[in-house]
C-alpha cells in the first residue's frame, strides 16, 4: 500500500517537471519577440528591451527555465501587466470560483447520472433504458458552450427565472445559488451522459457476477442486493472516470465561464489570451495542469482503498 503510493508519487514528478517545461516553453512559441508583441507596434525600443530583461528573455534558455521553476516553486508567478497585480493572487482569487462551479457541476451530474444509469441497468431494453440512453447520447454530443447559450435563452431571456451571467455570492445564499444553477447545469450535463452510460454498463456487468446471484439466493431483499452488493462494486470504474472528468471540467470551465461571465480562472485565461498577457496565461495554465495531475494522483492513491483486488 505505502509502496504503491510512493511509486505513484515518484512517477508524478517527471510528469510535473515535463508540464512545467511545456508551460515555460510556451512563451517562446510566440512568433517574433514576445516582449515586442506584448507591448504592441508603437512601443519604444528601450521599453521592449526593459521588458525583455524583466521577463528574463535575454538569458540563456536553461537559466530562464531554472529561474521560472524556482520562482514558481516559491509561489512567485510574476506580475500581470494588464491587471497590475501579482499573478498568483489573481489566480488564487479566481480559483475558488472555478472549484465551486466544477464541484456543483460534478454533484449535479452524479445526482442525475447514477439513478439514471442504475435504473437503466435494472430494466434493460425497456422504455426507461432507451430514454436514459437517448439522454446520454445527446448529452455527450451537445457542446457545452451551445448548451449554455440555449439555457440562457430559455431560463434567462424567455422565462426570466434565473440570471444570465455573473456570480451572485456564496452558493448557500439564494442569490448565489440562482447564479450558479445555469453554469453548473451546462457544465454538468456532458458529464451526466458519460457517467450514466458507464453506470449502466458497469451495473450490468456486476449484476451478472456470482456474488450477486449468491446474495439473491440467500433471499436478501432486491434493494439490499442492488445497493450493497452491486452498486458498491459498480462504483469503482465510475470513481476512476470522475478523475478523467476533472480534465473535461477544467477544459469546459474555460468555455462555460466565458459564456456566463463567471469570475473563475477560465475567464481569467481567456481574458489573458485576448489581452496577450502571456505571463498571466502561463500562470493559469501551470496551476490548472498541476491541479489536474494532482487530482489524478489522488484518485490513484484512493483507488486501492475502494477496490482491495487492485492490491
Amino acid at each position: 500500500m505505502a509502496a504503491h503510493a510512493l511509486k505513484r508519487l515518484a512517477e508524478a514528478v517527471p510528469t510535473l517537471i515535463g508540464a512545467s517545461m511545456l508551460v515555460f516553453a510556451l512563451i517562446h512559441l510566440v512568433p517574433g519577440d514576445p516582449a515586442a508583441v506584448y507591448l504592441g507596434p508603437d512601443a519604444l525600443a528601450s521599453d521592449v528591451a526593459t521588458l525583455r530583461h524583466h521577463l528574463g528573455l535575454d538569458r540563456p534558455l536553461a537559466a530562464q527555465y531554472w529561474l521560472y521553476l524556482t520562482h514558481a516553486l516559491a509561489g512567485d508567478l510574476g506580475r500581470s501587466y494588464t491587471y497590475k497585480a501579482p499573478i498568483l493572487s489573481l489566480i488564487l482569487g479566481a480559483l475558488p470560483n472555478t472549484l465551486e462551479l466544477s464541484a456543483a457541476a460534478l454533484l449535479f451530474s452524479l445526482a442525475l447520472a447514477l439513478p439514471l444509469g442504475i435504473a437503466a441497468a435494472l430494466r434493460p431494453q425497456t422504455a426507461l433504458d432507451y430514454a436514459s440512453t437517448t439522454v446520454a447520447v445527446a448529452g455527450v454530443a451537445v457542446p457545452v458552450f451551445w448548451l449554455a447559450i440555449m439555457l440562457i435563452f430559455v431560463f434567462a431571456v424567455r422565462l426570466h427565472w434565473l440570471p444570465a451571467s455573473g456570480r451572485g455570492g456564496p452558493p448557500w445564499t439564494a442569490e448565489g445559488l440562482a447564479h450558479l444553477a445555469l453554469p453548473a447545469l451546462s457544465l454538468g450535463l456532458g458529464l451526466t451522459a458519460s457517467t450514466a452510460r458507464l453506470a449502466r454498463a458497469s451495473m450490468l456487468e456486476v449484476l451478472d457476477e456470482e456474488y450477486v446471484r449468491t446474495a439473491r439466493a440467500k433471499g436478501l431483499r432486491p434493494r439490499a442486493v442492488t445497493l450493497h452488493h452491486a452498486l458498491r462494486n459498480a462504483l469503482i470504474p465510475i470513481v476512476t472516470n470522475v478523475s478523467l472528468q476533472v480534465g473535461i471540467l477544467l477544459g469546459g470551465a474555460f468555455l462555460t465561464e466565458t459564456v456566463f461571465a463567471w469570475p473563475g480562472i477560465g475567464r481569467l485565461a481567456v481574458d489573458a489570451m485576448v489581452r496577450r498577457d502571456y505571463p498571466l496565461l502561463q500562470g493559469v495554465l501551470l496551476i490548472t495542469i498541476v491541479f489536474f495531475i494532482l487530482v489524478n494522483l489522488l484518485v490513484d492513491l484512493v483507488y486501492p482503498l475502494l477496490d482491495p483486488r487492485i492490491r
Binding site: P14, I27, V142, P143, L285
Partner: protein
C-alpha cells in the same frame, strides 16, 4: 447442419458475388443508427462542397437593411445581426468545421501511428523517452493544451489544424503502441522476422494492416471531439477568425444577440451536435462491426 465439417462446404457453395461482402460490412449495414449517421454525414459533406449551388447568398456579405429576419421563405434559417443568411453561413461554415476536423484527425492519426509504431516496436530507451513525452501531454486536458498553444502561437488556419492534431496525437500514439506491443509477440511477426523481412517491411506490411481497424474506429469517434474543440476555439476567439463563416464563431455572434435573433444560436449549435452524434453512431457501428464481442458485452 450442425456438423462442423459441413461448414466449409456451405461456404464454398455461396455464389462469388455474395462471398465478397465481408461479415464486418454486413454487420455495419444492419446497424440502422450507424447507417443513418453515415448518410447524414455524406449528405452534409456534399451540401458543404456544393454550398454555392444551394444558396443565393454569400456567407460573409452583409446586407445591413435585412438584419434579424426570422426563418422564412427568402431566408430559410433567417438572417443574423449583419443581415447575413444563416443557411448560407451553415453550409459554407461546414467546410471549415467538417473539412478542418477531418484534416486534423488525419494528421493526428498519421502522427500517432508513426510514434506508436516506432515506440512499440523499438522498445528500450527510445520507447521510454517517447512515452515520457506522451505522458506529459496526456496529463494536460486536450482542450486546454490546444487553447494554450493557439493562444501563444497565434490563430491561423494552418496553426489551428496543426495544433488540434497535435493535441490529439498522444492518445493515438498510446493506442498504437499498446496494439503493437500485443501484435509483435504473435507468431506471424516472428515468422516474418525469421524469413528475413526488414524492420520497415514488418512495420508497414505486417503491423499496420492489423492496426487499421481499431485506429479507424478511434479516429471516427474522435472526429466528434475535434469538431467540438474547433468550434470551442473559435468561440473563445482563438480559432477561425471573423468574418469567416464557422459554426463556433456564429455562436459567438449569436450569444450577443440572443434577445433579438435567437434562431442564429439554434442552427449552428444543432449542426455541431448532429455531426458529433453522427460520428459517434458511425464509430460505434464500425467498432461493433469489426469486433462483435463488444456488442454482446454491452448488450
Amino acid at each position: 447442419m450442425n456438423d462442423p465439417a459441413a461448414r466449409p462446404r456451405a461456404a464454398r457453395a455461396t455464389p462469388p458475388s455474395e462471398r465478397r461482402v465481408s461479415p464486418g460490412w454486413d454487420r455495419f449495414r444492419r446497424n440502422r443508427l450507424a447507417v443513418g449517421g453515415a448518410v447524414f454525414l455524406a449528405v452534409l459533406a456534399l451540401a458543404c462542397t456544393a454550398a454555392p449551388l444551394l444558396t443565393r447568398y454569400s456567407p460573409v456579405a452583409m446586407t445591413l437593411d435585412q438584419p434579424y429576419r426570422p426563418p422564412g421563405v427568402a431566408h430559410p434559417l433567417g438572417t443574423d445581426t449583419l443581415g447575413r443568411d444563416v443557411w448560407s453561413r451553415i453550409v459554407f461554415g461546414g467546410r471549415f468545421d467538417l473539412g478542418l476536423s477531418v484534416l486534423a484527425v488525419l494528421l493526428a492519426t498519421s502522427g500517432g501511428v508513426c510514434i506508436g509504431l516506432v515506440s512499440g516496436y523499438a522498445g528500450g530507451a527510445l520507447d521510454d523517452a517517447l512515452m515520457r513525452i506522451v505522458d506529459v501531454l496526456l496529463a494536460i486536458p486536450d482542450l486546454l493544451l490546444a487553447l494554450a498553444l493557439v493562444a501563444f502561437i497565434g490563430p491561423s488556419l494552418t496553426s489551428v489544424v496543426l495544433i488540434l492534431a497535435f493535441s490529439r496525437m498522444p492518445r493515438y500514439a498510446r493506442l498504437v503502441r499498446g496494439s503493437v506491443l500485443g501484435l509483435k509477440k504473435l507468431e506471424f511477426v516472428t515468422a516474418a522476422t525469421v524469413l528475413g523481412a526488414s524492420r520497415a517491411r514488418i512495420l508497414v506490411r505486417h503491423l499496420v494492416p492489423n492496426l487499421t481497424g481499431p485506429i479507424s474506429v478511434y479516429s471516427t469517434l474522435d472526429l466528434g471531439g475535434v469538431i467540438a474543440a474547433l468550434a470551442g476555439l473559435s468561440f473563445v476567439g482563438v480559432g477561425i477568425q471573423p468574418p469567416a463563416a464557422e459554426w463556433g464563431l456564429m455562436l459567438t455572434d449569436a450569444r450577443q444577440n440572443l434577445v433579438l435573433a435567437p434562431w442564429t444560436a439554434v442552427f449552428p449549435g444543432l449542426a455541431i451536435t448532429l455531426c458529433i452524434i453522427a460520428f459517434n453512431f458511425v464509430g460505434d457501428g464500425a467498432r461493433d462491426a469489426l469486433d462483435p464481442r463488444t456488442r454482446r458485452r454491452t448488450r
